[in-house]
């Protein structure tokens, strides 16, 4: 198995890469952090790139296409900018949209032009549980994660004709640096051991990607919240507030 993973030097991306290598797969790892990429070891094909550089995406996509074809592609790289909407510099919000939405769409376009995803392979997009449950103070992040989920859903049928599975993953807060910095108020104070470990999430994601297209929420708790949010959005928000935010903020 040959896999391409973006944002592969840390967090969920790194855990996904390790799981691929542990199964004997070969890995193309993309990240902006060269030092951490180097630490992944020599058997990994490392590509250092800054996904905020939209003008470089076509060239990068061509490069990645030539390194393929892949049985698994995971568009995992993501950044966040949290706080009151007016207080977050617009340049930072622009970067969130560039990395989380523009880049995965443009790289997908390039990989498909190069026929770099094998028939029988899977194209995985990492969205966020905030697709389903309220996440205040991260409007541009929520925009990017909604957008990429809708993009993935739009590709499902056309790519099924090429025998390519398209899976969208909606992780809740993981035990990673990203969640440590950006989890919603309340969830951020959740004890670290309550969050899902990235290697557990990675194994679940790989298992789902090998089987099916569609949507996948790793973990029983986040999965239940997502289902509830779709059936009864008001109730889900109330439960989040009642049982998670207030409890963790010590106001309940």
């Amino acid at each position: 198995m040959r896999a391409l993973i973006t944002g592969a030097a840390a967090g969920l991306g790194r855990a996904l890469g390790e799981a691929v290598v542990a199964r004997g797969g070969s890995l193309v790892a993309l990240d902006r952090d060269e030092a951490r990429l180097a630490a992944l070891g020599e058997c990994v094909d490392a590509v250092a790139a800054d996904l905020t550089d939209t003008a470089a995406l076509d060239g990068l996509g061509d490069d990645l296409g030539r390194r393929g074809p892949y049985d698994l592609v995971v568009m995992n790289a993501g950044i966040n900018a949290t706080g009151p909407f007016e207080a977050i510099a617009i340049a930072d919000q622009s970067a969130v949209i560039a990395v989380n939405l523009t880049a995965p769409m443009a790289l997908t376009a390039a990989l498909l032009r190069h026929d770099a995803v094998c028939p029988g392979g899977a194209l995985v997009f990492v969205s966020s549980l905030s697709r389903f449950v309220s996440y205040r103070g991260a409007a541009s992040y929520v925009a990017s994660k909604h957008g990429i989920a809708v993009f993935a859903k739009s590709l499902r049928r056309p790519l099924a004709k090429q025998q390519i599975r398209v899976l969208t993953v909606f992780p809740g807060p993981l035990d990673t640096g990203h969640a440590e910095r950006h989890a919603p108020p309340g969830l951020g104070r959740m004890r670290r051991n309550r969050r899902m470990a990235p290697d557990v999430a990675a194994k679940a994601i790989l298992a789902a990607a090998s089987r099916r297209s569609g949507e996948f929420v790793p973990g029983a708790g986040p999965h239940m919240l997502a289902v509830l949010a779709r059936l009864a959005p008001g109730t889900a928000t109330a439960i989040m507030r009642r049982f998670i935010f207030q409890k963790l903020n010590g106001t309940d």
């Binding site: 996509g61 909407f85 007016e86 949209i97 443009a106 498909l112 905030s130 409007a139 541009s140 056309p158």
Partner: protein, 245 residues
């Protein structure tokens, strides 16, 4: 019946054609203090554009440009406005084609117009909206849940829906935030996008009907809302019962 938009300071983007133009006409007729924004130069406006009342100020502005927010803020200052009651982000663009036919520049351009432009403009005008206790209205699309023929367009409208939901929660009680999802409408959008809807076009809402329904939905303030035939019939029914039309 007095209009909820009378004397209100209102900006409409995408006002040089389609639903945006219909919105501008209706808002002007209802006595709004209107600033109509479009990408076209004023000289390239449709010939009947000047028939809109004298108060309409048309300003040419490419909302996908990086400095669109500050430039619009400057236009507001030049108009002598210190606050803003309503902005309707109607400008939109897209292409009917498979994703492999896209490149980074075309994807970035659609994101800039449909998604990041409205975000950046809302960011720049937040103080004006806060001062008036005003509202930001985003125009999504029936495609916001996914559309295999328009994957990038659908993604930008889905992004806008997520943005509006998060910001509505954040600004609750301070500034209104709404997203309206029009179904297919008789505008030049489909031709420009390279999509021929064929006979289905006869089923599309007219731009003017869509604008009428949207203004009613904006006055009611609920979000998200579908702007389609069902909403049009509800509006006509209510108007018949009230004897206003």
């Amino acid at each position: 019946m007095t209009s909820p938009f009378g004397q209100k300071r209102v900006i409409v983007t995408g006002a040089s054609s389609g639903i945006g133009l219909a919105l501008a006409r209706r808002l002007d007729a209802q006595g709004a203090d209107l600033m109509a924004i479009g990408r076209r130069a004023a000289a390239d406006l449709p010939p009947d554009f000047p028939q809109i009342g004298k108060k309409v100020a048309y300003q040419s502005l490419d909302i996908s440009a990086g400095d669109a927010g500050p430039r619009l803020a400057a236009m507001i200052a030049a108009r002598g406005w210190d606050s803003l009651d309503l902005i309707i982000h109607d400008a939109g663009t897209g292409h009917y084609r498979p994703v492999a036919a896209e490149d980074a520049a075309s994807i970035a351009a659609v994101i800039a117009t449909n998604c990041f432009g409205p975000i950046a403009i809302t960011h720049a005008l937040a103080p004006h909206l806060a001062k008036a206790g005003g509202a930001a209205v985003f125009v999504g699309s029936a495609a916001h849940k996914g559309a295999s023929g328009f994957p990038v367009y659908a993604a930008t409208k889905g992004a806008l829906a997520g943005f509006a939901r998060a910001l509505r929660s954040e600004w609750q009680g301070r500034i209104g935030v709404q997203i309206l999802h029009p179904g297919p409408t008789q505008t030049a959008m489909h031709d420009r996008a390279g999509h021929d809807p064929g006979r289905l076009r006869a089923l599309f809402l007219s731009a003017d009907d869509a604008a009428a329904v949207m203004l009613r939905q904006i006055a009611a303030g609920r979000s998200p809302q579908k702007t389609g035939h069902a909403a049009l019939w509800r509006m006509r029914g209510a108007q018949m019962l009230a004897g206003t039309k």
